[in-house]
């Protein structure tokens, strides 16, 4: 049985790491973008952002003050035993969010959508958000994502139903048009990690897009060649637009395009996009049945898809 105190501490440390330490794959993509950049303003922007990421880790402070919506993805071993059960697990994670907010690792960003009431601790109805998947074993993994407001609020998240008559051209047009429409003046903090969800009901497509944007490592490809090829084609096409860092012009506009799909209805193909900020923040911790914790570099959310 995994003790609930260990889960709360693991959740707290995962939030702290997620907010302050930028993953190697994201930093590697920045290093490549700096190398490739020709515009002096864009090159300096990329270099400054890269330097600041390093300093955030060194100083143990949030890499971006907009720590956004607190989102958790939990990969639960089928045989895992949680002290107090799943409700205790969620309460432990909420406690970790409260503590992380008080300690300044998270900004108190979540508020009531109508009254504007700010609880001051990022806790409220349906927030934080939890998504589960189930895998063999008696361990669990918790992934924290800080989903920034810039990439979410200014059109980086969109949806459209494409007719089968329009097929591949319709899907690709939706993706590139959505990106262009949301990136003017750097609103969604490009270069983004762009997630695309194809198929399923509207919520399934939107969830797949968000998971593709926030949980897939840069450099990973969908295992099916046709999807992997779409990812590469869209990455190249978007990077040929010249949007650049913060929309001021440059060669790198996306760090990756990641696509996930679900089977869909014969009547139409729901497509969704979700963009992650250039300062993409995520962290994963595995908690073993004996209470040991292991820091993971890759949420591997789609492993075994």
């Amino acid at each position: 049985m995994i003790s609930i105190n260990i889960i709360e501490e693991a959740a707290f440390q995962t939030i702290r790491r997620g907010a302050t330490v930028i993953s190697d794959d994201v930093r590697g993509a920045f290093a490549r973008a700096i190398e490739a950049e020709l515009s002096p303003i864009a090159k300096k922007g990329l270099e400054d952002t890269y330097k600041s990421m390093g300093l955030a880790e060194l100083r143990d402070k949030p890499a971006c003050p907009d720590t956004g919506w607190p989102i958790f993805y939990i990969k639960m071993g089928n045989e895992a035993q949680i002290e107090g059960g799943f409700m205790a697990l969620e309460e432990a994670v909420r406690n970790a969010v409260r503590r992380a907010t008080k300690a300044g690792y998270l900004r108190a960003t979540m508020k009531h959508p109508l009254t504007g009431f700010d609880p001051g601790d990022n806790i409220g109805p349906n927030i934080p958000d939890f998504t589960y998947s189930f895998v063999p074993g008696d361990q669990m993994e918790i992934t924290y994502v800080a989903k920034g407001g810039g990439s979410e609020c200014f059109g980086g998240t969109r949806q459209r139903v494409v007719a089968f008559a329009d097929g591949m051209a319709g899907i690709k047009k939706f993706v590139i048009d959505s990106f262009i429409a949301s990136t003017k003046a750097g609103a969604i903090c490009p270069p983004n990690i762009l997630g695309v969800g194809v198929g399923g009901t509207a919520n399934v497509a939107a969830n797949l897009a968000k998971e593709a944007a926030c949980l897939r490592k840069i450099g990973s490809h969908h295992p099916e060649p046709q999807i992997a090829q779409m990812e590469e084609e869209l990455t190249d096409a978007i990077n040929s637009l010249g949007v650049g860092i913060m929309g001021s012009g440059g060669r790198t506009s996306v760090l990756a395009v990641n696509i996930e799909y679900a089977y869909t209805h014969i009547a139409g193909i729901v497509c969704a996009t979700s963009s992650n900020c250039m300062v993409a923040r995520r962290a994963t911790t595995r908690v073993l049945a004996n209470g040991e914790t292991v820091i993971m570099n890759d949420p591997d959310w789609f492993g075994g898809r």
């Binding site: 303003i41 330097k51 600041s52 402070k61 051209a169 750097g186 860092i245």
Partner: protein, 209 residues
Amino acid sequence: MATYELRAPLKDEDVMQLRVGDLVYLSGPCFTCRSKLQRYIFDEGHTLPFTPEEGSILIHNGPIVVKEDGKWKLMSFMPTSSLRFEKWGRASIEQWNLKLICGKTTMGAETAKAMQEHRCVHVSPQSVSPFLWVDAIEIRGVDLFDEMGSIEAPWHFEMDKLGPFVVDMDCYGNNLFDAVTEQVEANRKKAYEKLGIPADFEYTRLYDE
């Protein structure tokens, strides 16, 4: 593209020399705001508890600030998107005596007009680099903390060469992002071609939009 070091309060000459694409570093006093404060002042008719001096600098942002040993400590700082404050752009320039607004993205046509009339510019970060900035900011105080909360309250900063920010709106009606948008539009057609999207492609309409 020139680089300027500016010190608040700003004069007309400070602002009139700036052109889109120039870089600026800011020193001297400034204050911050987000939606809640502007709604409180401009829509609900409350008055600011302080008077911004002629030539003030405003930063659109919501910092992370914690209190340690009775002192405010800035944990992280990044300008937030100015686009969404467009409806208060003119009012803030006129009533808060602004010569410079710093924020992510840019602002719209009405603010651009007000900027031409009152000699004001908008500058924008071209990176997300809080830790190249936090050391250049000292917190001098905060107003309306109980009413607005920590993120939306107006913080008073003292800046010491905070930047660089790029001038995206000068006081002559130019906008840096217009040129990028034009370039992106020209490239869009080539991108369609690369992706195999026919030039005359039209969506089959499944619903009204």
